[in-house]
């Protein structure tokens, strides 16, 4: 299909969002060694496809929780960029007032309810949001992002079970990037067992997609979201994807040789943005226009963060309790 002939406006927005996330993450990586962003930072470069697709399938009434690698999810849900960057810089204008850092982002106005840093920790919290949405008779759904490592936590199964039992409006989104830090899935889960099969057996409608192939996956994901929204109970999507940089930090780390070169090469060829551009023959001029548009916004977010004040040390002692 030729880019100018894409009939669904959604596809263009997915591309826009993927580029916005990519440019933001690349800018963080570029500046990280300045030592001003002083917190563990897990970049989403290479994994933009799934959140970008969900950004066009969900709205304000929908709620998101996520885990340690959450920049893409925050941005895709409409979280404010200057506040996210300021949070990573530890500034008082940060979305968590400097108390949380890169791994604890929040923008409730956008429906991004929080990301937490313990693997699997936010999964039941997202189910609780689903319970509340059901009790409120809301049209919204709860979207829970997690990685393949989280599917090894007990609380993941507890959460699937409860959501299925109570038919909650929850979409479990497993971004399977094949690694838990440096540990491949092969040392963590039996070879022949699939994440979607287990979830299906637990009563959760499940779908396996290539998270980097927007052309094929967007409509499948759209159907799944509609299924959850129509009150038929929870669903799970396992989306294969790959991170391009190290687990935590701004660097390329394949010199460590923990990932097979042919696997790295395969995913390099299946980069979600490049794949989209090639599938839809997007002209370079269009890409440049999009990049130009976000360059200013991203530049502005960093300027905002740099110009913001640090919180006063006394603020560390405020906020233990709500009053």
């Amino acid at each position: 299909m030729v880019y100018s002939l894409i009939d669904k406006f959604d596809y263009q927005n997915v591309l826009d969002m993927m580029i916005k996330i990519r440019l933001t993450e690349e800018e963080i990586a570029k500046r990280y060694n300045e030592q001003k962003m002083r917190c563990p930072t897990h970049l989403s470069i290479g994994q933009e496809g799934v959140p970008a697709m969900l950004s066009v399938l969900t709205g304000k009434a929908d709620l998101v929780v996520s885990s340690h690698r959450s920049h893409a999810h925050y941005i895709a849900k409409g979280g404010r960029l200057p506040q996210m960057i300021a949070e990573i810089y530890g500034k008082s204008t940060g979305c968590s007032s400097g108390k949380g850092g890169s791994m604890h982002l929040i923008d409730e106005d956008a429906g991004f309810m929080g990301s937490t840093a313990i693997v699997g920790n936010s999964i039941p919290i997202g189910v609780g949001l689903g319970l509340a949405l059901k009790l409120d008779k809301s049209q919204g759904i709860s979207i829970i992002y997690f990685g393949d490592g989280a599917t090894e936590q007990g609380v993941y199964y507890e959460s699937l079970n409860f959501a299925a039992l109570h038919k909650l409006p929850v979409l479990f989104v497993c971004e399977n990037n094949a690694f838990s830090v440096y540990s491949p899935k092969s040392v963590r889960q039996p070879h022949n067992r699939s994440i979607v099969d287990v979830a299906s057996a637990m009563g959760v409608k499940s779908l396996h997609i290539n998270g980097n192939d927007v052309n094929v996956s967007l409509s499948l994901l759209s159907d799944l979201v509609e299924n959850v929204r129509s009150g038929k109970g929870p669903a799970l999507v396992e989306a294969d994807t790959y991170r391009k940089l190290e687990h935590c930090g701004p660097n390329w780390d394949d010199d460590l040789k923990y990932r097979p070169p042919q696997e790295v090469e395969f995913w390099e060829k299946n980069d979600p943005i490049d794949t989209f551009i090639s599938d839809f023959s997007v002209p370079e001029t269009v890409i440049n226009e999009i990049k130009e548009k976000y360059k200013l916004e991203i530049e502005g977010a960093f300027e905002y963060a740099e110009a913001s004040d640090f919180p006063d040390p006394s603020e560390a002692y405020i906020g233990e309790y709500a009053t």
């Binding site: 108390k99 906020g319 709500a322």
Partner: protein, 350 residues
């Protein structure tokens, strides 16, 4: 306000009922909440009155269910979770410590997490190592949690209502041996302020600080000390261990100069250790002591448990020794009593 005598477990039931009537966003769930025994009758009749959307039994998923309560709290729901033993709630430490306790702080004071987690403390009748732990000091160590430990039906009701409507996560520790205790308390809705220890007996000679099941034991000890030795004991009921309010304890210590903390948990790294250290740092003219459990797990056999727990006799002995009066001549009153049951009426199984 009309008063009438009810049990501790009925007081808990009334607190839940009054709270659920007041606010439709109060939910109540936990293992056994709707079963025929209704968690020692504390949740009886709630499902009938409020429906199965607000009151329900759960899968055996303590950690998951705690996260679910937190998620619902982010949309304004006030969940009351129930664990039939504190020991079972240990499966949910990630959600309690990393999520519930920290959410308000780590997201810059944007979103409170109003959940109440009832945990029942077991003791005796073979409850043994994993059905009997009072880990109040674990929870009290965590910023963001409140830890409430009532000793009587009045406070059980007033403090549970206050906990449910507190905007913060509250760990509510109920001693199983208190469930059948009786007191005349008000009908209807009332709150008892969290973080306000109560002086339940006034005295000029020495101070006992205790909570939960050790408060009635202290009251018994004070009676013996008064009758047999003419010693007037002041008793402070420490119904909240976090936040820990020291003012009343310090004031009483200044007056009596002798203070013993009676702890129903293990001795090391305990609430009693904390109070003793704070007092020692603040005042240097005091005689201070603590009486807590030996640093071992509760054994199961009735033979092994004989010297494990402390009762009013043990409190009297420790206090007499502390005051330099000697305890050798004191005739223990409860020498024939079994320490693995709350009274001869108790027939098990738990």
């Amino acid at each position: 306000m009309r008063y009438r005598e009810i049990t501790f477990s009925d007081a808990i039931n009334e607190a839940l009922r009054e709270s659920m009537r007041k606010d439709p966003k109060v939910l109540c769930y936990g293992l056994g909440v709707t079963d025929p025994k209704a968690v020692f009758n504390t949740t009886s009749g709630l499902e009938e009155e409020f429906g199965n959307e607000r009151v329900f039994d759960i899968p055996c998923s303590e950690n998951g269910i705690t996260g679910i309560a937190i998620g619902a709290a982010l949309r304004g729901y006030r969940s009351v979770l129930t664990h039939q033993r504190l020991d079972f709630a240990l499966l949910s430490m990630d959600q309690i410590v990393n999520s519930a306790a920290k959410w308000h702080y780590m997201f810059g004071s944007q979103r409170p997490v109003p959940i109440t987690i009832r945990m029942i403390l077991g003791r005796g009748w073979g409850q043994g190592p994993t059905h009997s732990q009072n880990l109040q000091s674990w929870f009290a160590h965590i910023p963001g949690l409140k830890v409430v430990v009532p000793s009587n039906p009045h406070d059980a009701k007033g403090l549970l209502i206050a906990s449910i409507f507190d905007p913060n996560p509250v760990i509510f520790l109920e001693h199983r041996w208190l469930h059948n205790s009786v007191r005349s308390i008000p009908e209807g809705y009332f709150e008892t302020k969290i973080g306000t220890p109560k002086t339940v007996r006034e005295g000029s000679d020495c101070t006992l600080v205790a909570n939960s099941y050790m408060v009635p034991e202290c009251l018994n000890a004070a009676k013996i000390l008064s009758e047999e030795y003419g010693i007037q004991t002041e008793i402070i009921d420490l119904n909240t261990v976090r936040p820990l309010a020291m003012e009343g304890i310090e004031k009483s210590a200044k007056k009596t100069k002798n203070l013993l903390v009676v702890d129903s948990g293990l001795s090391s790294f305990s609430i009693s250790s904390e109070i003793v250290s704070r007092l020692a740092l603040a005042q240097n003219d005091l005689t201070i002591g603590k009486l807590a459990l030996h640093d071992i797990s509760e054994p199961t056999s009735q033979a092994l448990i004989k010297e494990y727990h402390n009762n009013s006799d043990d409190i009297v002995v420790r206090l007499l020794d502390m005051l330099g009066l000697g305890s050798k001549k004191f005739k223990k009153r409860r020498i024939n009593e079994q320490k693995d049951i709350p009274g001869n009426w108790f027939r098990g199984p738990f």
